[in-house]
């Protein structure tokens, strides 16, 4: 029992800071930014699981994030338009009747379900096709990247259905609460932080389970695992789907928090930036992934407020340095410091 408490002490400390201190100390604008970073952290958690533990470098996580975001945005747009009404962008795109694809998203349950299950379903289809054929490593990375590129083109092209490059924006209320209110935003922040916390605990549990061991084994010796009687394709597909579901949920939270979803959020570059964040934080530790997303999110904001041009240099340089000098990221560095202290 004492061990259990001790083991969860750091987590509890973070939870207190995130759930109590942050809403009290930060002004609403900054709290909103933190909520945004936490959305990215949820995606990063999924990447940490798929890449750090499972060895699947997914460069298309933005795709799942985007699908979740679009599902949520569609629900918000429909509640706003009211029964029989059309979302604003359809009006100026000349769409006269609500497309059938949109109909289910009027229900919050279905929309949220789609935000999570849609990405998972896509991940299962892609995973089955790709992993069953033993396409892996670099090939998998490139294919997910191409998927991100293809989906962006598809979304942009279907303007009447998706809002095109503009995406969807201008949301007013969520479950009857005014999104412009600071109290709503605070509530959204708490929900996001809570979801991240729960997902973190669940993912940690999964990684420490026998499935987690199996996943590491698949990462380190996929072919060997076959001869232990497991189907690595299944293990990978399941993991990929879980990480996709997390990204989808993150996208669904992102939309009311930030107030926009557009194809630019799910393309090649944002997907890569998230992977970078995970690498900087430390891909081998789930907490590293979360940390990386928050740190990189904050760094991006801070740097673009100070000197915009420098951001690309800094991001690039930071990344080269992390890869060459500290491949285990910040988590690895902190771990080294800790070991040095206890030794």
């Amino acid at each position: 029992m004492r061990d259990l408490i001790r083991r969860n002490l750091p987590f509890a400390a973070v939870a207190v800071v995130a759930l109590v201190a942050a809403p009290l100390l930060l002004e609403p604008f900054r709290l909103g930014l933190l909520a945004k970073y936490l959305c990215y952290a949820i995606v990063a958690l999924g990447i940490g699981l798929a890449w750090g533990k499972g060895g699947m470098l997914t460069l298309g996580q933005g795709v799942f994030f985007g699908l979740g975001g679009y599902a949520m945005a569609m629900y918000l747009k429909l509640t706003e338009a009211g029964p029989g009404g059309l979302p604003d962008f359809m009006v100026w795109s000349g769409v006269e009747e609500l497309p059938a694809l949109w109909a289910p998203f009027a229900s919050p349950v279905l929309a949220l379900g789609m935000a999570v299950l849609g990405p998972m379903a896509l991940a299962v289809v892609l995973g089955t096709l790709v992993f069953r054929q033993r396409v892996r490593g670099a090939y998998f990375a490139i294919l997910t990247q191409a998927l991100a590129a293809a989906l962006v083109i598809l979304l942009v092209g279907q303007q009447g259905l998706t809002g095109g490059t503009n995406g969807m924006t201008n949301f007013f209320e969520l479950f009857g609460r005014d999104l412009a209110e600071d109290s709503t935003q605070r509530g959204l922040y708490l929900v996001t932080a809570g979801v991240l916390g729960v997902l973190y605990l669940a993912t940690r549990q999964l990684v420490n389970s026998r499935f987690g061991r199996l996943l590491v084994a698949v990462r380190d010796g996929e072919d060997r695992v076959r001869f232990l009687g497991y189907d690595p394709a299944l293990v990978k597909t399941v993991t990929f789907a879980i990480s996709a579901g997390m990204a989808g949920l993150a996208g669904a939270l992102f939309v009311p928090v930030v107030g926009i979803i557009s194809p630019a959020l799910l393309g090649v570059v944002p997907s890569l930036e998230l992977v970078v964040a995970v690498a900087v934080g430390g891909r081998h530790a789930l907490a590293g992934a979360v940390l990386g997303a928050v740190v990189m999110g904050y760094a991006k904001t801070a740097f673009s407020e100070q000197f915009a041009d420098g951001w690309l240099y800094l991001q690039g340089a930071l990344f080269i340095l992390v890869m060459t000098l500290a491949p285990k990221g910040i988590a690895g560095l902190l771990g080294r410091v800790r070991r040095a202290r206890t030794a």
Partner: protein, 401 residues
Amino acid sequence: MRISRPIVPVALALALAACGSDAQPAAEAQEIKVGLLHSLSGTMAISEVTVRDAELLAIDEINRAGGVLGKKLVPVAEDGASDWPTFAEKATKLIRQDKVATVFGGWTSASRKAMLPVFERYKALLWYPVQYEGLESSPYIFYTGATTNQQIIPGLDYLKEQGKKKVFLVGSDYVFPRTANKIIKAYAAANGMEVLGEEYTPLGHTEYSTLVNKVVQARPDAVFNTLNGDSNVAFFKQLKSAGVTAETMPVLSVSVAEEEVTGIGVDNIAGHPVAWNYYQTTETPANEAFVKAYKAKYGATKVTSDPMEAGYNAVYLWAEAVKKAGTTEVEAVKKAAPGISLDRPEGKVTIDGENQHLYKTARIGIIQPDGLIKQVWDSGEPIKPDPYLKAYPWAAGLAAS
């Protein structure tokens, strides 16, 4: 996992500390802060930086002339990073944290759409300086670029006058070209013109041989081009090497201005028409001063273009409204703005009280071998802005509301 556990609290504490650490010093009583929100990095920086520069020039000039209400204007520049949520985020920061009096910013429609709810939510003012697809009139945005009836429709009038009856539509796949082409098709149907084809390519597309083949095979009298950015370079290069010339098949562009010409290569585009409200060569006293001042500040090789001039105007128009209102308070400025009329580089512009767009003169120009654009046609007088095209019977039904 053992390694990583202590890092989480450290990280969050850091993030919190960092988030809370930038309290702003109290604004000086003798200064008025204004926000400039353009992409300074990313793909759009290429265009937006020049608009920001023009806006800074206007702020400088106003300050040198004594400022507004006896106070100096202090620009607070933020980077939209060519990323639409960032525009929304930075707009929020400018309004809530920096408490700016107004914001000049945006370029793409997507960035404007992303900022719009922010400005409406906090009842703050945005001045948007680029021609766009219309169908919008937010009470908290002033539009200083052209709407469709001040650029697209005059462009079509010009083609009609030139006897070009068969047109081919080429555009990047996003909101502006799609909306523009819808208007063009309605116009064509009402004016006895024929649309032979309508093609879209993804943003950043550079392989145009198939599209050029389609265009060449269709044999149109003219091409109406709404391609954006780098795609124009590839399109014009590949069109030229396919043997298409401005004489046989003019390509009327609405997103190619003076700055883009060098990158496309003058050889590839000289002779083709463009539609705007302003050119560097526009002959007004105000323009002579503007071009001179701009080159003096940023270098003799720099060119001025329509969106830059619209951004430059925006600052002056806002300053004028503030003077008239006697305060920078948003509702008072909004009330004072309608009817304000200034002689700007493009000629006389007047703020329309109904939709907060400008009366603007439409101009068609031909790209010259020296890279500048020579006006060959204009609408004579400033056109009343009509973002919903209510005054055009053939446009009924283009937009439901």
